[in-house]
Subunit: 405 residues, 2 copies
């Protein structure tokens, strides 16, 4: 008998019919002899609808009240899922984030979990019930309702799985698993049976849309095996587990792409200490997240610094750069919002020389120019012209032997 935490996202509980299907699957999991804890998101577009309502009241609303408002969505779906379980003969009880003992800090809209006290969930399991827990929400140390930010329901599920020492946290979603590339870009993309936490972190960080970085980090830290699978097919999906040193690893597991960023280049910068610090402190002070940063080797004590930011932050970032341009003695600040990033990820890369060369050759052979390069031990990212991103992903997917037969 295993203890399984099952997380169902918004599309998985998007209608009464879908909710009944979820209940049937939970019932089957119980008949197979397992204990189950269910974690749910709000139904379909509920959260968006609530945000629209709030915007009709005022464009700027207190974060505490936004949290109070948005958590109504999970409250609705968890009660309905619990009802559906009851209708198929599975005894259950729903619990809010607060009732489930998810204690957070006081940062409304993107609270961090400080402590898990899932006593009532344990009691419910001991009583033979299936606890149904509201995702995305907790209660702060000030006893106010908080939400965990984007991907928060996955975080709830992983945190509960860790606290309850569950055998697996199943993330049910509307795709069948993690793929070797985005199937909309690469028709020959293959579903992966297993990826390591490290690989999944890089995939999530560089454009993989299945899981948010934060929940993968949480799962890795607490070593909670994740199983990403579809609530439409109910077939096994992709396992995300700790790296097994005895296994031969794929050199490259996945190719990701991301066209949500823009590039800024600060050129003609004097190569002296403190310049980068001044620049990136100013960006940080304006709440701008910087992703890739590349600084060229200096020529004549003058260098260029390029970095990427979310396109939505481009204007604010340009303003910040222009503000410090004179202080740091830069010649010019330019930007390009027509770029994309292509990344290859693979744990086997560490011990396989030649991966970088093959990546660059593949791009070069296809006439694709590389504008920026950034690497980690299991990842290589290249910034390209946005128009060539699809081609690049497809060529690399074939070159690294990932194409499905």
């Amino acid at each position: 008998m295993s203890l399984i935490v099952q997380k169902y996202g918004g599309t998985s509980v998007g209608s009464a019919e879908r909710i009944r299907a979820v209940a049937e699957h939970v019932a089957q999991t119980r008949r197979d002899g397992h204990e189950v804890v269910v974690v749910v998101s709000a139904m379909g577009k509920t959260t968006d609808d609530l945000i629209l309502l709030a915007e009709q009241i005022s464009p700027n609303n207190p974060a505490r009240e936004m949290d109070m408002l948005l958590t109504a969505g999970e409250r609705i779906s968890m009660a309905l899922v619990s009802m559906a379980l009851s209708a198929v003969g599975v005894e259950s009880a729903s619990f809010t984030g607060s009732q489930a003992g998810i204690i957070t800090d006081t940062t409304h809209r993107r609270a961090k979990i400080l402590e898990m006290r899932p006593d009532r969930i344990r009691e419910a399991l001991d009583d033979g019930l299936v606890p149904v827990v509201a995702g995305f929400q907790g209660v702060s140390i000030e006893r106010d309702v908080t939400t965990l930010g984007r991907g928060g329901t996955d975080v709830t599920a992983v945190a509960l799985a860790a606290a309850l020492k569950a055998d697996v946290c199943e993330i049910f979603t509307d795709v069948t698993g993690v793929f070797s590339a985005d199937p909309r870009v690469v028709p020959k993309a293959r579903q992966l049976d297993t990826v390591s936490f490290d690989e999944m972190l890089e995939i999530a960080a560089t454009g993989g849309r299945v899981l948010m970085l934060r929940s993968v980090e949480f799962a890795r830290r607490h070593n909670v095996p994740l199983h990403v699978r579809s609530s439409f097919t109910w077939e096994p999906g992709t396992w995300i587990v700790e790296e097994d040193p005895t296994m031969e690893e794929a050199i490259v597991s996945a190719i990701t792409d991301d066209t949500s960023e823009a590039k800024i280049t600060v050129s003609g910068v004097p190569d002296r200490p403190g310049v980068a610090a001044t620049l990136f402190r100013e960006l940080a002070n304006n709440g701008i997240n910087v992703d890739m940063i590349v600084q060229n080797t200096s020529l004549n004590n003058v260098t260029d610094i390029s970095f990427t930011v979310a396109k939505t932050d481009l204007e604010a970032a340009m303003t910040a750069c222009q503000k410090v341009q004179k202080d740091i003695g830069a010649a010019a600040v330019t930007s390009d919002d027509h770029i994309g990033r292509v990344t290859i990820v693979g744990a086997g890369m560490k011990s396989s020389p030649g991966v970088t060369a093959l990546m660059f050759e593949t791009l070069s052979d296809n006439g694709i120019n590389i504008e920026m390069i950034s690497t980690s031990s299991i990842r290589i990212s290249c910034v390209l012209h946005a128009d060539r991103v699809g081609d690049a992903v497809r060529h690399l997917h074939r070159a690294f032997g990932l194409d499905a037969e």
Copy 2:
């Protein structure tokens, strides 16, 4: 400076525009120098929509989960009202029933308040905030979310007003106050400035639709002055207060009507102890609420017992009567679902002989037959043929001098 609890019903917060109007009125009340606690219902049809959703899952759902589901409605409206207050510069914070310290028993769907611990509401007031509290909901001694049943938001408002020792509990609704009769039945009905708790109890019990019996009882027990008024006109409405012995009282304050009941007559019943007990115990065991009961003086040790029940309970009540018919030795059980009740209510009735006579004469003069009569010290009810109810109310309204000029 007064402390005012303001309750806003579903139509009062039925849209973003309505919510902004509520916020503006709260802001004005604050500018007038008062402390305000706001209690809100769910927006418009939200609760009905949630019930529909639940019915799509299953026709019979666990009461605990229904409560969890339905309380989402107030959570949404209270957050939006708090946002609207913030937008007009009034600092506020919303609180669930649980956060407001509304402790109930464990009877889901119609929980009773056991204790009020509004510490956080007091703290919020002391901090200069306007607390916005979810109506209709509490938390049970088992730490589960409960709802207080029909009219529950009024109960929340009155209970909070009592616990906080508020100067008045204002019930904002979609009518302008309590009327001398239903204006749809009597075009010349007048709005009442003041009614006593006792009168309001009788009005609520006999067909007045403005306030539920339960919240009036609660207000009377804790001596919380109520002020029923409109959130569309914002004009003063009707005050419901403790009877003032120094005041001259209207002999008749209001005429109410109710056509939601049916009449059952158990005839030819031996007039011996235990017969009525057997009959009404059987009805009670089937969860049937009996309203008026009339037993005729016996003739030859045989009597008739007539009583009224909600039309929706008629079939079950007939079954229950037929079950005990033989045991109690009754000759027949008959029913009539085409009846209506007309009631005159007035605290001055106690000291005014002739009221009963005038009522019966008025009905008789207009050819209206009385089928049943029931009285209390400040009320006389007559059961009539349903078709004559409107006429009866209009004639009585004129006869007792209530018609507006």
